[in-house]
């Protein structure tokens, strides 16, 4: 997995609550059997005026000029500033895959939906939860300052604004450890093979009906 230690970059605003994963990457793109190539269809229905199709060349599609990612000042942004309950709905990991493929490394919001939040960490994306007032303030600063950049430092768990303000954030120690070191989750879990086998054997003794029924 891609490491995340520190990221500095332009911030794009997604100024609406309850952005669902259908909105992040619409269903027709879920038919892919790959993990890559979703970036051009990130926020497809908001970004383009027509209905997108899988494997389509998007360069000639009519753009929704009002959508933030189509505005010149947010070109090359890698931090997304969002509102409450970001990533709700479907469990599709294609949502973080699309954000990652587009170039986003960090999403900041007052709250996230559980599954999306979890999926981000598996893909080298850092979801940062800040309180509502702080997010409001960041939105105002962003709208007032073209080219607004933030530095997100995972090791020190803080975000630095252009004005030099340092905003601390919380993150689970284990998730941080995996992200900072770019660890493969499965590899880490398999270090516990002994414990898993031991549990499994006891589980089989107490609940034999859970084993061998299918296959």
């Amino acid at each position: 997995m891609k490491k995340f230690t520190q990221v500095t970059g332009i911030v794009a605003p997604m100024d609406r609550a309850n952005v669902d994963t259908d909105m992040i990457i619409p269903k027709q793109f879920l038919k892919s059997i790959k993990r890559t190539g979703f970036g051009k269809n990130l926020f497809d229905e908001l970004r383009y005026m027509d209905e997108g199709q899988p494997d389509q060349d998007c360069s000639g599609r009519p753009l929704n000029k009002e959508f933030v990612l189509n505005q010149a000042q947010y070109a090359g942004s890698n931090v997304l500033l969002a509102r409450q309950n970001f990533g709700c709905g479907s469990s599709r990991e294609h949502a973080p895959w699309a954000l990652d493929d587009y170039g986003f490394r960090c999403v900041i919001a007052p709250s996230f939906a559980d599954i999306f939040y979890n999926n981000c960490f598996k893909n080298g994306i850092l979801p940062v939860i800040l309180n509502e007032n702080t997010v409001d303030k960041l939105f105002s600063e962003l709208f007032e300052n073209e080219g607004y950049e933030l530095t997100v430092d995972l090791e020190n768990q803080c975000i630095t604004t252009p004005g030099g303000e340092s905003i601390p954030f919380e993150v689970d120690a284990f998730r941080k450890h995996c992200l900072v070191n770019g660890l493969d989750d499965i590899g880490v879990t398999l270090e516990n093979t002994g414990s898993i086998k031991e549990f499994e054997s006891k589980h089989k003794d107490t609940s034999p009906w859970l084993f061998g029924a299918i296959g």
Binding site: D22, P96, D114, N118, D172, F174, D185, I196, W209, F211
Partner: protein, 472 residues
Amino acid sequence: MAGKTLYDKLWDAHLVKQREDGSALIYIDRQLLHEVTSPQAFEGLRISGRKPWRIDANLATPDHNVPTTERSSGVEGIKDPVSRIQVKTLDDNCDEFGITEFKMLDERQGIVHVVGPEQGATLPGMTVVCGDSHTSTHGAFGALAHGIGTSEVEHVLATQCLVQKKMKNMLVKVNGKAGKGISGKDIVLAIIGKLGTAGGTGYAVEFAGQAIRDLSMDGRMTVCNMAIEAGARVGMIAVDDTTIDYVQGRTFAPKGDNWTKAVSAWKELHSDVDAVFDNVIELDAADIKPQVTWGTSPEMVVSIDDSVPNPDDHSDPVMKEGINRALEYMGLKADAPITSIQLDRVFIGSCTNSRIEDLRIAAEVVKGRKVAETLKQALVVPGSGLIKRQAEEEGLDRIFTDAGLEWREAGCSMCLAMNADKLGQGEHCASTSNRNFEGRQGFGGRTHLVSPAMAAAAAIAGHFVDAREYLN
């Protein structure tokens, strides 16, 4: 010490290892697989040279992409080449890794959350995962069930475990008896209306109270299915005789001595009387009327005798903006009566409402009546091939087709427009599915979530109407 909640019991019974930072390794008893969220997981296994930890813990079936029209030519007959590759990839992966799959032409094929319980592959006391957020459905059996992402699908395949952090406990109690004609769908939509789309985030929710206990397993699955629409990954209901009666005799359910032992273990699958919940929400079942969503989030829900909300009645700017945006997308005017919403299509199906009981009530509503001429289409899509057969044995298919509804093959169908069944731009649909997000049922489509009875009644009237007027 306080007693344990059902969630605490299920968690403790599957805890492999607790880490100091609060995360834990949890053992997974059952993984259900479908074609959309598994290909990258299998590919990951191949790349790293890993094998599934326990083949017999997995069960697969294609559902999202399968056509629901005539499909005797199987996978090769899927017209959309991208869908065809995805279904074919599931078949190939299951063959390669030795995983049991109910393929497209198998009568047991269907929507993964319908098939698991139907086969007894979902059992009380299990941990169940699937790369699909509606995995909460299986919590209806007193199981700990939730949706996961594709990386976690691969993780479970490779290790039989998940890294989890324990959630908080929430109790949602629906007190008293629900009125006649009020279904599990109305109950859960009313709960979501009260909790909000993020109210359950971070919680494992247990549904309880008389109105929940009174529900059949089909109704309970509908309720748990939509826990995620209130933000809760996990929804569950304690085991009782209704649960045990449903499970008994199913293909993969325990038999003989194992059945006796299992039943005695399952009887413990309820929250202790002195269990403490972090949050308790109570509703009075008698207050619940047939529900209809008007907006673009499941929390945007009102009763059939209500009107579309007015943004001016709200002071919170984010809320106001949300309502305005939803009104614009849905093409609705504030304060319009819900019964004035004209429909273009009706969809009865999905992992929320495609079980036999759902089809029976819809058939009762349309029996001897005709679909409104203003409707472009009314679809009935059973949740599995076996439900389809049962419905046909009961003559429900004839009731539907005589009334002018289409009777289809099993699959996810119009719930999410990954197959040929979808809404056109601007079309309003009365749908028994679970999500009314923008574009969910098709680009520019407008979804209204309702119960099967309400969808059936809307098909007859051409607009929303109180389904209780159509029931005996």
